[in-house]
Amino acid sequence: MGDPGLSRRGFLAASAAAGLGMTALSGCGGDSDGGSSDGTTTIEWWNISTTEPTKGVWAALAKKFEAQNPKVKIKIVQMENDAYKSKMTALTASGKLPDIFHTWGGGVLRQQVDAGLVEDLTDRTKDFAGSLLPVAKEPYLLDEKVYGIPFDMGMIGFWYNKALFKDAGITEPPTTWSGFLDAVRELKAKGTTPLALAGKEKWPGMYYWAYLAMRTAGAAALQKAYDDKDFTGDPFVQAGQHLQELVDLQPFQKGFLGAAYSTPTGQAAAVGNGKAAMELMGQWAPVVQADSGKGLGDDLGFFPFPAVDGGKGAITEVFGGGGGHALRSGAPQAAVDFLKFFASEATDVELVKKTGVLPVVPAAESAIADPNIKAVQAQLKGATGFQLYLDQAYAPAVGQEVNDSVAALIAGSKSPQQVTESITQAAKEEQ
């Protein structure tokens, strides 16, 4: 009777050893020419590239990497932006993250790092991370340590329909807030919807308040207010008041409070189909406009968020962020190899050419063909100040409160004063 038990235990031990051995071997065998081990490593790659052409290009790149590394299989898991954030929250709580995962850096990444779930890449990426654009690496540097490798860097600004601007008699994109409000009035007078906004998703609305706060209080103020847990300063109230000036003009599309961002009836589609003249969005906007709507082609233009008269911030200070990949702690060497592959010049040139991202490898800059992306790149290079997306820079509870309060301001249920109070309270609750 004892025999089968013993052999079963023996079998378990053997298979466990085999399993360990396989991981160890494949870990060593990451340098493609290794070859004597017959174990295959499967690495999971979680990203948010659910729209074409990015989706297809990334899948092809994964295939290419697999071809170069026959012992490695890449399993791609893709989720839409908001769903991904929710899923990652659940995974973070469960204590295990995917091998390679999308990250925006900032507060969310810090929480994952503090929980001990993210691999410190400082040494493991030394050989290639040094050559990347310094500003692009900023969001993933926490306490001087590297926790992520960027593949995109960008900023938020206004994307506008040149033809609709021309129809309304606007010759030059506005550079001041009062000029911007005038442009909105002129567009409205022409019967054009000036702005598209995804009210259901809240984060696109937050961009307005954040940029206005940067313009009234200066680029460093938002981070400082977070560190001091005090957003009640006058410039922040003024930011809300300026946003209210805009909301009072009723510049948004019909039903914007219920609109999503990337659906066929959402914000991007409204601009892409020529139904609204502008949207405040990141460097990915042209791709999403063309995917969810028709896309504007040559009619699409970009201008930076205007300066506010009398404000401390300059028009050259940018609000934005990029996209990067981080690894779970203890991820196999193959995952690091993949990051290296993904940050190589060859890959970056392809990404810039085909998916509209901004280069993170300086040598790939020449691959930018789109004049709008060139304009964004020029803004980024000449930036005199930088602030990461608030819902990423701040701890989630504070970031969400900013989104929520600004959404309430836009919907008319909170005053500019109340917005700053709510955010301050959320910041104080977060020790």
Binding site: K85, G255, A411
Partner: protein, 332 residues
């Protein structure tokens, strides 16, 4: 005594029965032990699953509700009942309670009578009756998420099917911003809920109606009762057990409503369609305030539990008693 013994029945009177004696008693004891062992062996997996997947999480949520806890590691920052006091001062949560009540009242007062009317109608002799039944039941088969996506397209302002249709028949005035309008969002949501769930309740009622003996209706007919009197005095009282169960399911469903709201409006605009479950999700999975979210879930659990117990005690008691007496009668 031996004549009522189970194996005798099974073997039947014609089979040669071994003599009953001390051996039989011993066998019986052994069989009883075996019976117990079998029962335990079959129940342990289910009990373990129930314990690990249902009971422990409930207890843990109850525990976590007394902590300020971000979801990492174990809760350690004990704050007493702070989460609950904060909860009952939060205008969004108080709004959730109000909206929950509105949905419950609307479901019971509008959706269920509508389902009943359809059930009575489709219980008549009617050409294509089965087709209608299937059509009305079909929405229930769809998942809530798919229903949500479908209706956010239908109710898209201007471009959506609803507004286009109304526009084409000259009723533009009735169209609007549907989900995007704070004053209209609950009505729209309720419309979708009704579309999805009335078919299910209709099916329940149809089953109930078919179990009402025809003789009773015929007797009432002979006594000169008109259609309304027959419905009021014969159909409705006999359908009461089904109605009570249906109300119960409907109320519990309204308390826990999540998927549909999350997909169509995410609780917006400006919290005007937020439910308790949506608020809980926002705090638990968006803000990482898992302690506070646990407090919300505990309150939800409490409301459901109190309602379920009170309903069973005061409303369903007659039905349950009926069920047990029938069973007792069968045993005799």
């Amino acid at each position: 005594m031996t004549s009522t013994f189970l194996p005798d029945k099974r073997t039947g009177p014609d089979v040669d029965v071994p003599p009953m004696s001390a051996g039989a008693a011993k066998g019986r004891a052994r069989r009883r032990a075996l019976h117990w062992l079998t029962a335990v062996a079959f129940q342990v997996p289910a009990l373990v699953l129930f314990l690990v997947l249902v009971l422990l999480p409930i207890l843990f949520a109850l525990y976590a509700a007394f902590f300020r806890w971000g979801g990492f590691g174990m809760p350690s920052d004990y704050i007493g009942t702070d989460n609950f006091t904060r909860l009952f001062q939060d205008p969004v949560f108080l709004g959730d309670l109000w909206r929950c009540l509105v949905l419950v009242v609307l479901s019971v007062a509008v959706q269920l009578p509508f389902a009943l009317a359809m059930a009575v109608l489709l219980n008549q002799r009617l050409r294509g009756r089965a087709v209608y039944r299937m059509l009305f039941f079909a929405p229930y088969v769809l998942s809530e998420a798919i229903t949500g996506v479908l209706f956010s397209m239908i109710f898209a302002p201007d471009d959506g099917l609803a507004d286009q249709l109304l526009g084409h028949v000259g009723l533009d005035g009735l169209g609007g911003e549907w989900f995007a309008d704070p004053s209209m969002v609950m009505a729209t949501l309720f419309l979708v809920m009704t579309w999805k769930y009335f078919g299910f309740h209709m099916m329940l009622y149809l089953a109930g109606l078919q179990s009402i003996p025809r003789e009773l209706t015929e007797a009432a007919l002979i006594d000169g009762a008109n259609a309304w009197q027959r419905f009021r005095s014969v159909t409705l009282p006999l359908l009461a057990p089904t109605l009570r169960i249906s109300v119960f399911l409907s109320v519990i469903g309204a308390i826990q409503l999540f998927d549909l709201v999350w997909v169509t409006t995410a609780g917006g605009p400006d919290h005007h369609s937020e439910t308790m479950a949506v608020t809980m999700f926002q705090y638990g999975f968006k803000r990482y305030q898992v302690g506070y979210a646990s407090a919300i879930s505990v309150v939800m659990f409490g409301i459901s539990l109190v309602f379920a117990l009170a309903y069973q005690r005061f409303v369903l008691r007659r039905d349950l008693e009926g069920a047990t007496t029938t069973m007792r009668g069968d045993a005799k």
